[in-house]
Symmetry: C2
Subunit: 220 residues, 2 copies
Amino acid sequence: MERKPVLYMYYRSSSAARVSIALHYKGIEYEPRPVNLLQNEQLDEAYVSKNPSALVPLLIIDGCELSQSVAILEYLEETRPEVPLLPRDPAQRAHVRAIVGTICCDIQPLQNLRVLKTLPEEQRPEHARSIIARGLSVVEAMLEKTAGQFCVGDEVTFADCCLVPQLINAHRFGVDMGHFPHICAIEANASKLESFNRAHWTKQPGCPTELLSGPIQADS
Amino acid sequence: MERKPVLYMYYRSSSAARVSIALHYKGIEYEPRPVNLLQNEQLDEAYVSKNPSALVPLLIIDGCELSQSVAILEYLEETRPEVPLLPRDPAQRAHVRAIVGTICCDIQPLQNLRVLKTLPEEQRPEHARSIIARGLSVVEAMLEKTAGQFCVGDEVTFADCCLVPQLINAHRFGVDMGHFPHICAIEANASKLESFNRAHWTKQPGCPTELLSGPIQADS
């Protein structure tokens, strides 16, 4: 009997959220398994043996242990293409992947906890804000040429799976979103879809309930 | 008449080298066009209008302007599959892309000039060394399960296109390679291939000739 895929995730991880959105969008049922990064559970020997990077996400699917969110997105697209997350045209696909690369290589790694920890505490919010704002301005300029209802045309793609979770941090660190009309429109369109809503950080296992009753408007 | 692809690059850019290796490996003739990052030529208005990220590489091909090295690799694979750089099996492809993600998201962005510039000068080499060493230890552990002559099996893939240029910086910052036997073996195997040699930084236009007569052994 086919076992349900297992997604090792952390409720605040934008990288895990990319995969979670894609799974929901493609209608793939899975079992989320929280890895508490603040308690360093990602360093447990059993986890590292499955995922040497000691990062989330990790997806167990089809008997394989798959790490790295973008690699997982590509795998899901290759093995479950029925509900596509890439356009057919190679140039359009390249535009999708260029937006993905901008978010996953040029924004997210430079503003995550691992980097922020190397800075004095009082400098962290401004550093994160500035990295995210600069990165989003690049994405906004790319969207100028490619956007429809979503990042590339009118269908959801990998680019939206990556952009929307990154915006959680943009809001969290107080990035002025007024400069990014395309991004804001895409965020609003995504918020109407069940797949994005089900993957929202407030709905993930492991999300502390006290965060849900506090001032989360800026995050959601 | 079909125009030759144009690759905007910088001789020291490991991201540009990934694409350069792939182009050579697939036998695609191209025209390299140096963008001097030290002289901020990437900020020229004409360049930014083509590539809002103001980064290299940028590949002009088939009438498209393509940015982000991994997006470009995928495009080349989709449009020029005759000499493949990905295995056929989806799980193997995912392993290739997981190594790519580890290098392109978790190593390269954290050790490049843009990040190093935020640190006091005396801390930069140790910071870069430590980021690269930690990242390569993850790659080495992944290779334990996947490596043959190259990163995943016995054929060159995207993973090798990304790993080998990253090693230039590993050598440059004095990372102790003794911990990474698989990586060293792959580097040695790649060094026997014309595609990797033609893409070597010392052979790129814009490489200052004084560097070639100096102590470059540690870099090559």
